[in-house]
């Protein structure tokens, strides 16, 4: 008996204390299907049991926020009758197992979260972390993930407008694939929620048939990888973007016609989570006959059906009188829509199999009583609190301008167009800035205003200090939005961390979240959606803490955006410096030459600076702009010189030290610019002039053509077999 129980706990990945809690709640042992339901809904992936305590503290409200956590995605009011929904989600584990399908279904899943709410998807972004190019399978993983993202997004017809790709050995055996989607509501588009309502209403299953895909996927995502990962693979989930495209059109149509009471997509833990969450949120019961669920494989058991993660499926609630009209619309798009159950008044989820009750539970008990853990962590101490000036003409590699050539030709500093040229960046005919820019921009359909999309989190800053890295995940992308004239509005996040049962991981998690949260509050950019991905560890090695973020910003128009590169001759090049925090940066890390810096956690005055910068940009006070990022000032200047216009610069600062924060601008009117931008903690220095065809840094000189050639070589040097 004992052996039997421990075997069961292992199969369903339920711990002994959790098992005891379940027995307490039920007043007996779980039986039959209940095992599977608890396993899925109490998994880390579905229940957020290790992170909930901390997530509750997040800043999520502002006058613009119409919907935050608790729904499929957050919604922000843009004014003028326009709204957007957006969210970011991880698909790390599936992408490591089967990179093409893992990444593709990641994109598919995040799109469903968006159009489930009634918003038409208008932009995609992706945040990728890979291991060293030479690591085992890495070329295959990079290739598969990029093809998968492109294969899905291109076909479904949503442009990918921005992205980030990082490389570090900590991702060698656990890559990160985070996808973000943005959806648009025009004046007449309704918002649909997932709260089941109306006793007697139909529960309707729409979309693809259920197969064996990803059974037990949610609980797998809540475990670490080990050498046996291959053996415990569930059936790989296959994404079909063509089917999803049909589902988008059909769903948006029935929502517009007001035929839907509530709707939720079947994501992690498939039918289980959608049924239980819809019932729980609505405070109603649902009775559902699983034998009515359309199947691809007739041998599926009720347990398989409840746990299947087949893609492109939705569960919706509809009034019986509207069902015929709803079915007609789905028929038109060649999709299944069938009644599988009804809404009841007894607050129970009752599952039937060919008319016979096989399970009856209170959703409230399973969903709301899921365990919450206060995992052990320590209060984080900020690194380098003692003030040191930003190094001038640094020594060693950080001071050696010639290192620029090495950086540009490495996979860290080289061109990423091999990746993003495989994504359709312009379908929708609304893209004003594609992936070659720091901020992706789409034009809003009705008001013609610009929506900026940018990703944050720089793993090398996270590795330096998780609290400061958390701050940077919000502040750096906010400055990027501001530079191009977008007022930062709100944030989504995807918190990728290691094993939460380890104190070290939890300490990083809490510190990063505190850093992010404090500055979201300061910048009035609430966190409105997101997900947590724990257990990103393999053989006891955690990935770098990686709380990726996605920010959106608003600009009055898409005309006259500042360029990322220099393009006007004989303009003043201005270096804006905010605050006095700095560190030896990415070059210091990868060359292992030095590790030093000064961090000031207040960044006093940052709110004012972001606002002033946004306005100055909108007023057209500078022609080109770029936030100085990894590899510091000289690398940023080189990136701005790739289009043929360079600059002549005289500057004492060490070329590769990274300062929090600096921005390069080119302008005709330095005095107007300084009047507009000078504020607390901000200094402004003219460091040179733009000039044709070459970049000069003190006594060093490169032809812009040479810089471009070096930059283009970086990818091929590391991924020769992929680069044609």
């Amino acid at each position: 008996m004992q052996a039997n129980l421990s075997e069961k706990l292992k199969t369903y990945r339920i711990s002994q204390p959790e098992y005891e809690k379940i027995c307490d709640l039920l007043g007996r042992e779980p039986k039959g299907l209940e095992w599977a339901l608890f396993s899925a809904l109490w998994s880390e992936h579905c229940s957020y049991k290790s992170s909930k305590i901390h997530l509750k503290k997040l800043f999520g409200k502002s006058k613009r926020v119409l919907q935050s956590f608790g729904e499929n995605a957050g919604i922000v009011d843009l004014g003028d009758g326009e709204k957007i929904a957006f969210k970011m989600e991880s698909h790390n584990h599936p992408s490591f197992i089967e990179p093409y399908q893992g990444a593709a279904t990641g994109v598919g899943g995040i799109l469903r979260d968006i159009f489930t709410m009634g918003a038409r998807p208008i932009a995609l972004a992706n945040y990728l972390c890979f291991g060293e190019p030479k690591a085992q399978r890495m070329s295959t993983l990079v290739d598969g993930v990029v093809r998968g993202i492109g294969g899905y997004g291109n076909c479904v017809g949503v442009p990918t407008v921005t992205g980030q790709t990082h490389f570090d050995p900590s991702y060698n055996e656990n890559i990160l694939v985070n996808a973000m989607a943005v959806g648009y509501f025009g004046k007449k588009d309704p918002i649909c929620l997932s709260k089941a309502k109306g006793v007697g209403n139909h529960v309707v299953y729409v979309g693809a048939k259920t197969g064996r895909d990803g059974i037990h996927g949610a609980s797998m995502a809540s475990e670490s990888f080990d050498d046996n990962s291959a053996a415990k693979r569930p059936t790989v989930q296959i994404g079909d973007p063509f089917y999803e495209k049909l589902l988008i059109e059909a769903c948006l149509e029935v929502m517009k016609k007001d035929l839907v009471v509530a709707i939720q997509d079947m994501g992690a833990a498939g039918l289980t989570s959608s049924t239980f969450e819809m019932a729980e949120k609505g405070g109603v019961g649902i009775e559902m006959d699983l034998s009515q669920v359309p199947l691809r494989d007739s041998t599926l058991t009720p347990e398989d059906i409840m746990l299947s993660e087949s893609q492109e499926r939705m569960l919706l609630i509809c009034e019986p009188k509207n069902f015929a009209a709803l079915k007609q619309e789905f028929d038109r798009w060649g999709l299944d829509a069938c009644v599988v159950g009804r809404v009841t008044d007894d607050k129970k989820v009752r599952l039937l199999w060919h008319g016979e009750v096989i399970c009856e539970t209170e959703p409230e008990m399973i969903v709301s009583s899921a365990p919450e853990y206060e995992r052990t962590y320590e209060e984080h101490q900020l690194k380098w609190p003692i003030k040191k000036a930003i190094p001038q003409k640094g020594e060693g590699v950080l001071g050696d301008a010639k290192m620029l050539n090495t950086i540009l030709t490495s996979h860290h500093g080289g061109d990423r167009s091999w990746i993003y040229n495989q994504y359709d960046q312009r379908v929708g005919a609304a893209t004003a800035n594609d992936c070659s820019h720091a901020v992706g921009v789409v034009r809003l359909q009705e008001s013609h205003r610009g929506l900026g999309v940018v990703l944050g989190c720089r793993p090398h800053v996270m590795r330096m200090d998780p609290y400061f890295g958390g701050i940077d995940s919000v502040v750096h992308p906010s400055l990027q939005l501001a530079t191009y004239g977008f007022e930062p509005l709100a944030v989504t996040d995807c918190l990728n961390f290691g094993n939460p049962e380890k104190k070290e991981t939890m300490t990083q998690f809490v510190a990063a979240l505190q850093g992010m949260n404090t500055f979201c509050q300061r910048l009035e950019t609430p966190i409105i959606s997101g997900n947590v991905s724990f257990y990103n560890e393999t053989k006891n090695k955690n990935v770098s803490p990686t709380p990726s973020t996605g920010l959106v910003g608003l600009r009055p128009s898409v005309e006259n955006l500042p360029h990322d590169s220099f393009y006007k001759e004989n303009q003043d090049v201005v270096l804006l410096t905010f605050g006095s925090s700095w560190f030896s940066g990415f070059l210091g890390e990868i060359t292992q030459a030095t590790s030093d810096g000064y961090l000031e956690k207040d960044l006093s005055g940052i709110e004012t600076f972001v606002k002033k910068l946004t306005l100055a940009s909108q007023e057209g006070l500078f022609a080109s702009g770029r936030v100085v990022g990894k590899f510091g000032l000289l690398y940023a200047l080189a990136r701005m010189s790739l289009e043929g216009m360079g600059a002549q610069i005289v500057c004492d600062q060490a070329p590769f030290t990274e300062v929090f924060y600096q921005i390069l601008l080119s302008t005709n009117d330095v005095s107007r610019l300084s009047k507009a931008l000078l504020s607390e903690n901000v200094s402004l220095t003219a460091i040179g002039k733009t000039q044709k065809a070459s970049l000069q840094w003190n006594e060093h000189k490169w032809a812009t053509e040479e810089l471009k050639n070096l930059y283009k070589k970086g990818w091929e040097a590391s991924f020769a077999q992929l680069a044609r």
Partner: protein
Amino acid sequence: MRKVGVLRFPGTNCDRDIWHAVEQVGDTPQWLWYQDRFNPKDFDSFIVPGGFSYGDYLRSGALAAHAPVMQSLKEASELGYPIFGVCNGFQILCEAQLLPGVLMRNSHLRFLDTMVDLTVINAHKRFGQKLEKGQKVHMPIAHADGCYYVSDDDLKRIQDNQQIYCTYVRNPNGSVADIAGVMNKNKNVVGMMPHPERAMYEWMGSCDGQKFF
């Protein structure tokens, strides 16, 4: 005001973009659903938009070429109505044998989205009236199957009959003779891989596309 029929197949995803482009130049678009037939006389011309009809499964355009709406489109072609296919629309017109040749997987075997320069070789009487021979235009491509192929004999035939619509200045996908767009023998049907509807405003990076509608 000209009425332009815009075809929609399951998986078409540039339909709304074409719709806006048609409106932008002052014409009136009207949807034509893949399962429906239509009377050509009700229209001035027709556009088959891009996307992934039927997910590009089997071969790009192959399944769409057999949809009921294509029967009517063939009749329209026989009557000499102007028909314009963009990207997947071009692939569909080739698969339906309304245009010569076929579009194969790009020579580097990957999807490619990038801006390209084109040279106009022969203008079309309706789609691109304002274009001149030899004119250079700038717009994006976004496709995996854009490598145009015809046999040597057919190539000579379409060259002699002035059926080549436009060519790439720098061939991005391995197309025979750098061909980016072609016309049929009667020169009423035209198709091209690049996307003029994505080059309608300066903020898109080019407004050369306006001249194509």
